[in-house]
């Protein structure tokens, strides 16, 4: 409880210093708007009904792209993590994909998928797939081989080893990895909404940049962070339910 107060206190202190710094005129609002200005912008947009439209549009794009990427990366990663042969086969391809920033996929995705919502999902997908896959492969490979051998010695089949040893052992690390990946997926939203977007937090930030509305830019950034925090908390609650042994 004390730590919670400490966190809230430090946050409020930073906001107070920031507000005072701006109000005393040390810096022009175009470079750093006061928190009160950002709040005013948020209230104005909420009143116009546009704030949640942007949040929901981005949340939908991120979640669809991220879920698709996870749905493929989890089984594929576990498979590659438990097979040295296939890992060796796919290693070069993964190594090529891993360093590519989401933005580099924009021209190709436009050619392949056109100016559609699918193109935006694909940017998030490509931006989060390779890192997720690597996380999951590592999580699977980190299972103590002694546990696997012990299970095999006790007569467990390959499926039994997977179900009883590898999955429960790797899942906490996979979930932890996915939480990190979700943050990475949100970083792709700016790239995803650079082309043919009329709504979304990435669009909001980039459009505000054109009109020098720095308060809107900060608001967009803040909303991305807040959305990630909310999703993270939700993730932890789900984690606690489906993986009760990780609670402590």
């Amino acid at each position: 409880m004390t730590y919670a107060y400490l966190s809230v206190g430090s946050f409020l202190l930073v906001m107070l210093i920031w507000e005072g710094f701006c109000r005393l005129g040390f810096i022009e609002p175009i470079f750093l708007p006061a928190p009160s200005l950002i709040l005013l912008r948020a209230l104005k947009m909420a009143d116009q009904g546009t704030l949640f439209v942007h949040v929901l549009a981005s949340a939908r794009r991120v979640m669809v792209g991220f879920l698709l990427s996870s749905l493929i990366a989890i089984p594929f990663g576990i498979f590659l993590g438990s097979s040295r042969f296939f890992k060796a086969v796919f290693d070069p391809l993964i190594s090529l994909l891993r360093p590519l920033p989401s933005m580099s996929w924009i021209p190709i995705s436009l050619l392949w998928l056109g100016i559609t919502e699918t193109q935006k999902y694909s940017i998030v997908f490509m931006g989060s797939f390779a890192p997720s896959l690597l996380y999951i492969i590592e999580a699977t490979r980190n299972i103590d081989p002694i546990l696997i051998r012990a299970a095999q010695n006790l007569g467990a089949s390959r499926w039994d080893v997977m179900r009883e040893v590898i999955l429960p052992g790797a899942m906490p690390q996979i979930i932890a990895g996915l939480k990190v990946m979700l943050g990475i997926a949100w970083t792709c939203i700016i790239s995803a909404e650079l082309v043919a977007a009329e709504e979304g937090l990435g669009f909001l930030i980039m459009n505000a940049k054109e009109y020098f509305q720095t308060d809107t830019i900060f608001l967009g950034m803040l909303l991305i962070s807040l959305t990630v925090i909310i999703i993270d908390v939700t993730f932890r609650m789900i984690e606690g339910k489906i993986l009760p042994w990780t609670r402590n």
Binding site: I30, F31, L111, V195, A196, F212
Partner: protein
């Protein structure tokens, strides 16, 4: 003898004093005219509004005025204007939408002192042949770069024809460079864009010109396109280095004169900036009307058609919810820099 010597001495003193005075005066004139800073940084791009700065650098009009100009490229006006007020650039040309948006943010750190061109016929809406007039756009997809002059044109044209963006026409936010591919693949039915892509799209099969900037409401009244180019200077720089500013303005408008009088020679150096072919470059130059230094004095006065038109443009941006409040444009205009 003594008297004679005294007269000679007196005359020599007078001559010496006159010579000293004249030399001093001349030096003073030289010192006044000499730029305090020999290098300035200009923010540009391959857009036609930056041709004078490029021509000035390549054909030596700045050098003639004792100035070296560094041409810094920016993709968008917003980035260029941001750098100007951050102190990284000394002069720039910008689309007026970006200029007005920066004024609306309350930033007083720059002057607007000129408008160098008019290009009403190289920006407009290119559509599929079956779209014969604006009302035919109903239910269609129109590609436009948001927060650009073409966006303002589209909002105005739709309003003039009683159409609502989103409800009647789907606006697709696309970069100009991505429009030809989207048009060719049939993903959009029309595109609002500017040269050189404007010319390229017009030459594509199945495309035709629906309208250009001359249909913009403010053009009809003030001869002002939806995003006229604006010459801007960093306030701190212009105030601190008046001779340098004068030298820049002089060199710049000498380049404008070259563009008016020797377009073919200018085209040869401009292709290095634009990567267009010589024929394309010459075609673009034909469509631009250049405003010289004499015209600036007429345009930048308040009240005057350009400043008034800019104010109307600011009000238009507020009306269409692009900015919150319209700035008083004349507070940023400083035609003294043109003297």
């Amino acid at each position: 003898m003594k008297k004679y010597f005294r007269t000679v001495l007196f005359c020599m003193t007078i001559i010496l004093a006159t010579v000293t005075f004249l030399f001093g005066f001349q030096n003073e004139i030289r010192a006044e005219a000499k730029p305090e800073k020999v290098t300035v940084v200009y923010g540009g791009s391959s857009w036609l509004g930056h041709y004078p700065a490029w021509v000035g650098i390549e054909m030596g009009t700045f050098k003639k005025n004792g100035l070296g100009v560094l041409f810094q490229r920016f993709y968008a006006s917003s980035g260029r204007m941001g750098s100007l007020v951050a102190g990284d650039l000394d002069f720039a040309s910008t689309g007026s939408i970006s200029g007005i948006a920066l004024m609306a943010s309350g930033m007083k750190g720059f002057y607007a002192f000129g408008t160098q061109d008019s290009y009403a016929t190289v920006e407009g809406i290119v559509a599929k042949k079956e779209i014969k007039n604006v009302t035919d756009l109903k239910g269609k997809k129109l590609a436009v770069t948001f927060a650009s002059s073409a966006h303002v044109l589209v909002l105005d044209i739709l309003e003039q024809n009683g159409l609502e963006p989103k409800e009647d026409v789907t606006l697709i936010n696309l970069k100009v460079s991505e429009m030809p591919a989207a048009f060719k693949s049939g993903e959009v039915d029309a595109c609002a864009l500017w040269t050189p892509m404007f010319n390229k799209l017009l030459n594509m099969e199945g495309a035709h010109l629906l309208l250009n900037d001359t249909q913009f409401s403010l053009f009809k009244k003030y001869g002002l396109g939806p995003g006229p180019d604006l010459l801007v200077a960093r306030k701190e720089f212009a105030d601190k280095y008046p001779n340098t500013t004068r030298a820049f303005v002089k060199g710049y408008f000498e380049a404008v004169e070259l563009l008016r009088q020797k377009p073919d020679e200018c085209a040869k150096v401009l292709v290095k900036l634009t990567n267009l072919s010589m024929d394309e470059q010459k075609a673009v130059l034909k469509d631009i009307q250049w405003y010289g230094l004499d015209k600036q004095q007429e345009l930048m006065v308040d009240p005057g058609s350009f400043v008034e038109g800019m104010q109307k443009l600011a009000n238009f941006l507020v009306k269409h919810k692009q900015i919150d409040e319209a700035p008083m444009v004349n507070e940023w205009v400083n035609k003294d820099l043109l003297k």
